[in-house]
């Protein structure tokens, strides 16, 4: 049965920064989940979800062999460590902003989630 879950339940993420550009890698727990994320986690979806945070261009690089999506978010850090007044000027926490998004899982992805252990 398909269902809607937090991205956090089916993927992990790591955020890094270069200047005012944030990069967030999202790694799916399995191939079926990856297919769902690939369809749903578009740059347009991210911009629409967080328009005041993500004001610049967003590019996504897909690594199907690793079930990973790498998001590169320009002007995503309120100026970055050089200029941001955010407590987290590096945007280290942005991985968990993305993991708070909801995604719809196909039957295959749901089965994968239920079969998944903590770490592959």
């Amino acid at each position: 049965m398909s269902r809607r879950v937090l991205l956090h339940a089916v993927a992990s993420a790591r955020a890094g920064d270069k200047g005012d550009t944030s990069s967030v890698a999202v790694i799916a727990d399995g191939p079926a989940i990856f297919d769902d994320l690939r369809r749903q986690l578009t740059p347009a979806r991210l911009k629409a979800a967080f328009p005041r945070q993500f004001r610049g261009a967003i590019r996504r690089y897909d690594l199907p062999g690793l079930h990973a999506l790498n998001f590169v978010i320009e002007n995503g850090l309120e100026g970055g460590v050089n200029a941001s007044l955010n407590l987290d000027g590096h945007g280290k926490a942005l991985s968990y902003l993305l993991l708070g998004l909801e995604v719809d899982l196909s039957d295959a992805a749901t089965a994968e989630m239920q079969a998944a252990t903590d770490d592959d």
Binding site: R14, A49, L63, G65, L66, N86, L97, D118
Partner: protein, 447 residues
């Protein structure tokens, strides 16, 4: 000329200047390493070192002596050669200090190579175009504290070929600290792009130390990490084709898994098929990652294309001051009282202290880190008010801290835990310099 080595083990003992020293000592003592590298120079760390040196302080890494004292005896005993960018703004001074440490430890005869030539401040002209649409250098309008090019692996390999037991650099691309030893050990040519790409992946995976062994990773119940307080630091067993197995020492905390490796492989990478360093345009897009045993993950399949035509330069400027101060409220109406305190702070900073710089008011607990992304919560059991600003005016910066202290007695009821501080702010910009303008040099000292 000796026959090329079959397998090289290279470890990483630091991923930033303030990194832990005990795991590095453990790697040096038990790791059976060929090389141990320390990456200690974040983008702004070097500019800060220039500023410190200009003020009469140390231009090299402040932890250099402590770190070397911890690892040098074991490295000397085990013929582990050290590579580090702890030279920071003063590689020559760092090498002298390292030689003094070696002599103190009775390790006379230790050969220390210094890589210089990254300091390019003398080459800059006001018309230099900055990257990222930042205009020409002359328009920045802030005092320059230093400018350094990211050097590559070649001078490190050259230093090792000359017999260095330790190589100390200033600004250098982080993965080059691992690629230099691999080029030297395997005799890789400086235009063997696929192997340089593979060696760059090894350096990239290791360069943040424990971020590949379970650091920056744990999420209890979801991604559990055993022994997080005693993370082992990583090493790679590299073969001549550039394939590697990432591992850590038995008995240490943390884990090396497909997931820790994949997360780190993409860390601070933009296009995985074009990771730019001074050595190569590395291609990680086709890398395969395979768990081959407990805490052992094999990586292979990285490629590479010709290196960029220019060196990247980071320029550091004095950017005024960052002032931050806070106070906490708890219990009934904590959020309302914290909000009121924030309004008073903003009003006082503008009306009394003439602050025209943007003032940031955070309500920590209601949503501060994601304030630009999400609506804040209405209330919480306790809330910390944080007020921050950047300013060129030291008096305004100091006033923010004093005004927060006044919140003890002049703010809303029940406020506690006032803290505040002012830090000099360094801002950085990037530019490109043609390769032929930058001249890396290697010099040898003997302890």
């Amino acid at each position: 000329m000796t026959a090329p080595a079959r397998r090289i083990r290279i470890g990483c003992g630091a991923g930033f200047s303030g990194d832990r020293i005990d795991p590095a000592r453990d790697l040096a003592e038990r790791g059976e390493l060929d090389f141990l590298f320390f990456e200690c120079l974040a983008e702004r760390t070097l500019a800060q070192a220039h500023a410190t040196q200009a003020a009469g302080g140390l231009g090299f890494d402040p932890h250099l002596e402590r770190r070397l004292e911890a690892v040098l005896p074991a490295c000397r005993a085990g013929a582990v050669r050290i590579v580090t960018n702890m030279g920071s703004a003063d590689p020559a001074g760092a090498a002298e200090a390292a030689a003094a440490v070696a002599r103190r430890l009775g390790l006379h005869g230790l050969r220390i190579a210094v890589v210089e030539g990254d300091d390019v401040a003398a080459l800059l002209t006001p018309d230099l175009a900055l990257m990222d649409g930042d205009g020409p250098l002359g328009d920045v309008g802030l005092p320059l504290v230093g400018a350094n090019a990211y050097l590559g692996a070649e001078p490190i390999a050259e230093a090792l070929a000359a017999g260095a037991d330790m190589v100390i650099t200033g600004r250098c691309a982080d993965p080059s600290l691992a690629l230099g030893p691999l080029m030297h050990a395997f005799g890789w040519a400086a235009d063997d792009w696929p192997r340089l790409g593979a060696g760059t992946l090894v350096g990239h995976l290791l360069e943040c130390s424990c971020q590949i062994t379970g650091g920056y990773f744990a999420d209890p119940g979801r991604k559990d990490v055993p022994g997080l307080a005693f993370l082992g630091y990583p090493f790679a067993d590299v073969t001549e084709d550039g394939a590697a197995v990432i591992g850590k020492l038995p008995g240490t905390g943390g884990l090396v898994s497909r997931r820790t490796v994949i997360e780190q492989m993409l860390y601070e990478v933009h296009d995985p098929a074009a990771y730019l360093t001074p050595d190569v345009t590395a291609d990680f897009a086709g890398v395969s990652v395979t768990q081959t045993g407990p805490d052992a993950v094999a990586v292979s399949g990285a490629g590479g294309r010709a290196r960029p035509e220019a060196y990247k330069v980071t320029l550091g400027f004095r950017g005024g001051f960052l002032a931050e101060a806070g106070i906490s409220y708890a219990g009934p109406a904590a959020a309302a009282r914290a909000r009121l305190a924030g309004e008073v702070m903003r009003t006082r900073m503008e009306a009394v202290h003439g602050c025209r710089d943007p003032i940031r008011v955070d309500l920590i607990g209601l949503g501060a880190l994601f304030a630009a992304a999400q609506e804040p919560a209405e209330t919480a059991p306790e809330v910390r008010l944080r007020v921050a600003l950047r300013t060129a005016d030291r008096d305004v910066a100091d006033a923010l801290v004093r005004e927060m202290e006044a919140m003890w007695i002049a703010g809303p009821a029940g406020g506690g835990g006032v803290r505040g501080r002012v830090t000099p702010s360094i801002v950085t910009r990037s530019a490109l310099l043609p390769r032929d303008r930058v001249r890396p040099r290697v010099r040898m000292l003997t302890a």
